[in-house]
């Protein structure tokens, strides 16, 4: 009898499960799985939003066109170029996390309050003198640094973590518009500060025109003529990478690293202390290998996100320009699909993008896992 019992039981379980799953599964089939199939089908047709064109099965034509589309290769290059910034941002997050992992740098409360008092008084005095003396900008910037330092001493690293997280939390249309203005070559903050610095060291060079410039740091490469190469220098792509660095360095990656470093057993560091290791040695030989799983997770997520990214920046700051240098594959799909209304062709690009994402994730997975086994 046990078999019959388990059969009835299993059937009962099946219907119970379906009851719980029904709503989600329906939505999943209509809005996720259905669209996946539909998009695959679209990529083999001439599907457009214009009603005048008859729907036709075109086989692999979209894909063939795509591979000989010089724009596609250009935009793929742009996407990969933007991703070169990711390792720097991740290393920055790790270094920051390592600095901010201890909750309190000073253990004694009285000492903390005394130092904070001194800081506030010194800060008020310096800023006051600077204000009276007409150096208002310097007073403003120093004032913010003093406030940050005082908060950091009173409340510990939490206040720094919070302050550094704000740019990433606030990232969105508003901050992207803000950075667009910062990079304005005439009145933007970037060139204001750069100009002051260059004048200070008596260097007479042309300031970059940032978002209006097709230059790039890899401009010395013998790129094809269709890649709008403007030579070596700081251009639109660098501007966007600087903004990405600002948004990314104190964000989720830093928080992940802090949690990860905090869970490293203390005795590893104590053993290193006995061996006389310096802080750099401890960072390199204990922290970095111990957070390898987190690095691996971040690397995979960043690769997936980076390949699909750049839409917001292109849409808000540059409309893909100048001369297409800030158009990524994601923005290309958007313009092809929703501006030029060629949904079939756009679907084909998105599937090629999927294949690239999938292949790179696979490589990451294999290589990363092996590295992690070697490290442990």
């Amino acid at each position: 009898m046990p078999r019959l019992y388990s059969g009835v039981r299993e059937r009962k379980h099946f219907w119970a499960a379906m009851g719980f799953l029904a709503l989600n599964l329906t939505g999943f089939l209509i809005f996720t799985f259905g669209p996946v199939l539909l998009s695959l089908y679209m990529s083999f047709t001439n599907w457009t939003l214009r009603r005048s064109v008859d729907l036709q099965w075109v086989g692999l034509r979209n894909y063939q066109e795509l591979l000989s589309d010089s724009n596609f290769w250009f935009y793929l290059y742009n996407t990969l170029y933007f991703m070169l910034g990711i390792p720097f941002a991740v290393v920055g997050s790790l270094v920051l996390a390592n600095l901010l992992v201890d909750n309190m740098l000073l253990k004694r409360k009285k000492l903390r309050l005394r130092i904070a008092n001194v800081l506030i008084i010194v800060g008020l005095l310096t800023c006051g003198f600077l204000l009276v003396g007409g150096q208002k900008d310097l007073a403003l910037i120093l004032g913010v640094i003093y406030i940050g330092a005082a908060a950091g001493i009173i409340w510990g690293s939490v206040s720094y973590r919070t302050m550094l997280y704000v740019p990433s939390f606030a990232s969105g249309v508003a901050t992207i518009i803000l950075w667009q203005q910062i990079f304005n070559p005439y009145y933007g903050m970037a060139n204001n500060i750069l100009g002051e610095l260059l004048a200070w060291v008596n260097l007479d060079v042309d300031l970059p025109t940032w978002l209006n410039s097709t230059k790039s740091l890899l401009g010395f490469l013998p790129l094809p003529a269709t890649f709008s190469n403007g030579g070596v220098g700081l251009g639109a792509r660098e501007a966007i990478m600087i903004m990405g660095f600002w948004m990314g360095i104190g964000g989720n990656n830093m928080i992940l690293y802090i949690a990860s470093i905090a869970s490293i057993p203390e005795d590893l560091y104590e053993a290193a202390d006995i061996d006389g290791a310096g802080s750099v040695g401890k960072f390199w030989h204990i922290t970095v290998p111990s957070v390898a799983p987190t690095t691996f997770f971040i690397a995979i997520m960043a690769t997936i996100g980076g390949l699909q990214g750049g839409f917001q920046f292109a849409k808000i700051m540059t409309e893909g320009g100048p001369a297409g240098t800030t158009t990524t594959l994601a923005y290309y799909i958007y313009t092809k699909g929703f501006v030029e209304q060629e949904l079939g062709y756009a679907a084909a690009i998105s599937w090629i993008l999927f294949i690239i994402v999938f292949a790179l994730t696979l490589v990451n997975w294999k290589y990363g896992n092996r590295k992690m086994e070697a490290a442990s």
Partner: protein, 292 residues
């Protein structure tokens, strides 16, 4: 044995000082864009091209123009910035999506984690596989589906497709797998059915996971750009990102107004940050698979 130089008290306090100094300066640099934004928002239109931060006279006029208290002095009309309406739309959409998504995801997660049934792992694998697919692949046919359902340019069109999430299901399933099986076995012996186990045992224990998912979903939808950009045509349905983008299109040349508008649009976000930051930090650590 003499202590190594890296462990002498003087060296240590020097390092602590250096740390404080470095991080404080970095915080200052990170906040420079915001300082510049605030300063520019209070400058007059003649002053924005100057190289200095500090406005000569702090004039609240730009803020009042952006808040529609006084008209734009050049065109003599009130600007097209309906912040209250935009925030209302953003919050309405994000709140509906969050409620529906957490509801559908936790029910599905229960079926995937606590009930044994044939075909479970195959269907779950299907969910997992779709998580790898770029959002852009889905956006195009989703739009087509919305066109055929006549939901373009409606609130429902913004809410319904986002109410079901493979990621949310996956996350809550992982979370529920961490709840010991013996809890529901004990409840089953006491005669509880699946509904009771779900409501009385699993849901209370899965609360941290649900809160994390809710925060991520809410923020993600509050600031979502591409889907409302494609779906929304009417001005009265605009969410904050779309509204601000349209404002940029109209007043992009008037930097002081643009900066006032971005400043004002950032304020609700900063408020949300202050309210949610603790849960948020815990949630990020949770989702990355490390204990915080």
């Amino acid at each position: 044995m003499s202590t190594p130089w890296s462990q002498t008290p003087a060296w240590r306090s020097a390092m602590v000082f250096l740390k404080f100094f470095g991080v404080s300066v970095l915080c200052g640099i990170m906040f420079l864009p915001f300082i510049w934004m605030i300063c520019t928002a209070f400058k007059s239109s003649g002053e924005v091209e100057g190289a200095h931060f500090w406005p000569e006279l702090f004039s609240p006029d730009n803020i009042r123009i952006v808040l529609r208290q006084i008209p734009d002095p050049f065109t003599k009309v009130f600007v097209n910035l309906h912040l209250a309406k935009w925030i209302f739309n953003s919050i309405l959409v994000a709140a509906w999506v969050t409620t529906l998504q957490v509801f559908t995801s936790c029910m599905a997660a229960y079926a995937f984690s606590r009930i044994q049934w044939r075909g479970r792992d195959k269907i779950f694998l299907l969910y997992l596989a779709t998580m790898m697919i770029p959002g852009m692949v889905l956006t195009i046919p989703q739009y087509q589906i919305m066109v055929s359902l006549n939901l373009v340019n409606t609130y429902s069109g913004l809410i319904i497709p986002a109410a079901f999430s493979a990621f949310g299901t996956f996350m809550l399933r992982q979370f529920m797998l961490g709840i010991p099986q013996s809890y529901d076995e004990a409840a089953e012996i006491d005669g509880a059915g699946h509904c009771q186990i779900f409501l009385d045992v699993i849901l209370p224990l899965a609360k941290p996971g649900m809160i994390t998912l809710a925060i991520f979903t809410f923020l993600g939808n509050y600031r979502n750009l591409i889907w409302p950009l494609i779906m929304i045509k009417d001005a009265h349905l605009r969410t904050v990102p779309i509204g601000l983008l349209s404002f940029q299109g109209q007043y992009g040349a008037q930097v002081e107004l643009l900066m006032s508008a971005t400043l004002i649009c950032l304020i609700p976000l900063i408020l949300m940050f202050i309210i949610m930051q603790k849960q948020l930090v815990r949630g990020i650590s949770l989702s990355g698979g490390v204990k915080g």
